[in-house]
Symmetry: C2
Subunit: 499 residues, 2 copies
């Protein structure tokens, strides 16, 4: 190693330590922190963030990158990747003044607090000034950059490097064109009976079943945890310390699927190549690629006939009263029922994307200044009516159901549906390449899928830009074709439409 | 605030955030971290420590302290205290080269790992090179300082500012002179029957009883937690986020007393003045003062007749089979039985100090170079024989029972017994100043003691040097008189000696 490269590794290792520590502070806050400790924790997180920012945008890193200059490391090598990512992260950090970054951090904390209040009181006015502030800050943030076709590109780039607004709009136009009529078609068919799902479900039995499933999939207690939280998420303080969180609700069995979803995120972080440890390469490559992993395990795997063929008898054992008389076919159709509903995170696989598309469209208008924040509730309701034929009864179950905007997370929503699209591209490829794919899942053999994902995707981490990772892993860039075909087949199967 | 003082506050706030974050990382490691995550965690802790060290020993702080110069803040003001503590911590940090500090951190991690191995295999040779390394590092550390009478003073000063080896030796000589014969006297008397304690104790029942006690004492779930661990300790990520840890063992009820012990540490951190938040003043003033608090709640309070007069019926309810036929008097004598035993942390109030005194004497010889580390086991056994008339059957239950030396914690042991001494000085004063003291405890009124400790001690944090805190809170500096009188009364009461 040359001295400047050695110093680059050291700086990146420190930065990575700070990022992981920040993640742990946040995990702790959502799962363990006594309530009164929140204020001090906010200061601690801000200090860690500031130190990380000083490091990544700092003069020493600038000097080191300068010294490395055109040092041409072998393409595809860890060295080349580290320099590329360090340079990218450094340049982005340099463009944003410390003052603006501090304002954004503060606005995010205040926005989250206001969201809880507004959501509990069902009052949009409590949130409005915070949304206006977020939009103002986002515009200032966008102004720090140049060379973009659409200001929304700048926001998107923070989650999905090099993804363009135009490309998202194109993919979403295809989805919308197919899915709006498909939803209408399902609505006109004989309704699926899922009444058996609407009863009380013992939370501890759900936990014990879910843990049993996770352990079969690869959750080992030496490297994984599962904790309770309000809004499920996954933290990875290191690739050998994967922390899933979930919420088991006695009104439904969503918690079981949420565990599978978070397992997908966790497995990606767990299977990143060990040689990438303590570098910023040791993460999933992008938000959409991460989401593709959670969707594979939650939906393509977790709502499939093959999965339940293996696990349904075990679920029946846990819930003999509720499921003793429900056969596997009825259960399968129930958990896959397609029906427009108000809440994004509870939506079925088909309607889910329409929730995302309408948020993307609204975000673009907000950022462009074409939609003032005070008109957002009406605009939201109008799109809910247009795409899903639903009218939210209030703002808590409508426009302010998600915390994202209050928190300043604009540009993130589209990666959820892009993740769905990519998940099927990967799934189809895995099926083609793994012999007896469905058969093995039906018999409880899950290692082949896990190993395939590691080999094709996980181990690379951020070694390559997301687009190249997509090409490498899925064999093609984002293509909604396979996903739409999958949804049509599923709709036909579940709702009894002609395929 | 003048600009340099404002900058001092900012730097100290950052430093304090890093210290608290480091504490949380350690708490997490001992209670939540999946085993395989330990390696990455060690790197993260090292990075946080290094950043803290760079800050406290750094040029910017040097400049700010220089600018503040002789700015004479009002004596007793927060400003004056902050400058004093910042200057002290800065000067200590400046004297120790980064390289030596890194060596110490590494030796500590390796020493702990070696300790586990040596302890499990009962093999002193596995630990010996690590102890030798620790002693070599301690000598290099001592050499960084000047103006001391005894090299051990330098080590002691890290835990007990300004305490001198000579003073400790003087106090311990008094204790030893009285306690060795007292132990012999008890051994000659009729033995106390504590056979009822040696049975199986349900761990969940112990937890539920302990939590009930803690909640009566002031443990509120909005600011406190209790978690399981191997070696109990208390973490305070902030003064509103107090985390006790404990270990309930089915072989004994030590876990109940361990909860009371940790509660004492936690309450000190909880009741530090709110105006000290995000400064290095927001901690207990020294190790001995901290230990005095844990000993008050564990022993003076938790092994008193008054305490059990209130709680014993509740304990009997939790353990009807074990305690239904054991009356309060018999229970009181059982939990206070005085008897030489091998393991320091399980020792009774009287013999405990002899375990500490022998360790202090050995540490001094080790540091002075008068005792080579390979002769330590024999020296340890000889003192065990001399003070307690016991011969350890092996090294795991003898010389390497504690992790302190392997970890590099030399100079810490004496603060345990100093804490005992101070605890009785404080206790006697509280009894004199709180009307109907015993009577109120017997009736479950614990707020007066808690409030007295806050007013007299806790709220000051590190505002004053420990010696001044001792004078202020206890009305006198370390004085073994009241403690010895207390132990003699207790021995007479429990073992039926003539007082």
């Amino acid at each position: 190693m040359t001295p400047p490269f050695r110093r680059l590794r050291e700086l990146m290792a420190q930065l990575e330590d700070l990022e992981r520590v920040g993640g742990l502070l946040s995990w702790d806050q959502e799962t363990k922190l006594p309530r009164a400790g929140a204020e001090a924790r906010a200061e601690q997180r801000a200090t860690i963030e500031r130190l990380a920012h000083e490091l990544v945008g700092g003069d020493e890193l600038a000097r080191v990158l300068d010294e490395l200059g055109d040092d041409s490391f072998e393409s595809g090598s860890l060295e080349a990747a580290l320099v590329r990512v360090a340079r990218r992260d450094h340049e982005k950090a340099r463009r944003v003044p410390a003052r603006l970054r501090a304002d954004m951090t503060r606005a995010s904390a205040l926005g989250i607090a206001a969201w809880w209040e507004a959501h509990a009181r069902d009052d949009y006015r409590l949130l409005l000034p915070h949304l206006e502030r977020q939009l103002e800050l986002k515009r200032r943030y966008v102004e720090c950059f140049d060379r973009f076709d659409d200001p929304y590109d700048v926001l998107l780039d923070d989650y999905e490097e090099d993804m363009k607004t135009e490309k998202v709009a194109e993919v979403f136009a295809v989805l919308k064109r197919e899915l709006v009529p498909l939803v209408a078609e399902v609505a006109a068919a004989e309704p699926v009976d899922d009444s058996f799902l609407h009863r009380k479900w013992d939370r501890e039995a759900q936990r014990s079943f879910s843990l049993g499933v996770l352990e079969r999939l690869g959750f080992e207690p030496t490297s994984w945890r599962l904790d309770d939280t309000q809004h499920p998420f996954t933290a990875a303080p290191s690739s050998r310390d994967i922390r899933l969180t979930t919420r088991f609700d006695s009104e439904n069995i969503h918690g079981i699927f949420s565990c599978l979803h978070e397992f997908g995120h966790g497995l990606y972080e767990r299977q990143v190549g060990e040689e990438l440890a303590r570098t910023p390469l040791a993460h999933g490559a992008s938000s959409a690629l991460h989401e593709s992993q959670s969707r594979i395990w939650e939906n393509l795997f977790g709502r499939s006939r093959s999965f339940w063929s293996y696990f349904y008898p075990r679920l029946q054992e846990k819930f003999p009263a509720a499921l003793g008389r429900v056969d596997e076919e009825k259960f399968y159709r129930g958990i896959n029922k397609i029906e427009p509903s108000l809440i994004r995170i509870d939506a079925d696989e088909v309607t889910y994307n329409l929730h995302i598309i309408l948020r993307f469209e609204l975000e673009r208008e907000l950022v462009a200044g074409d939609l003032p924040a005070h008109e957002l509730p009406d605009a939201f309701d109008a799109k809910m009516d247009e795409y899903l034929r639903l009218r939210p009864p209030n703002v808590s179950r409508g426009v302010i159901q998600d915390m994202h905007w209050a928190e300043g997370m604009l540009g993130h929503f589209p990666t959820y549906s892009l993740g769905n699209v990519i998940s099927v591209q990967l799934w189809e490829r895995a099926r083609a390449e793994i012999p007896d794919f469905d058969d093995r899942i039906e018999h409880g053999e899950f290692a082949p899928l896990r190993d395939w994902l590691r080999e094709r995707l996980h181990r690379f981490g951020r070694m390559l830009p997301p687009r190249e990772v997509r090409l490498l892993a899925a064999g093609a860039d984002v293509d909604p074709g396979p996903y739409l075909a999958y949804l049509r087949r599923k709709a036909a199967d579940v709702a009894g439409l002609s395929p």
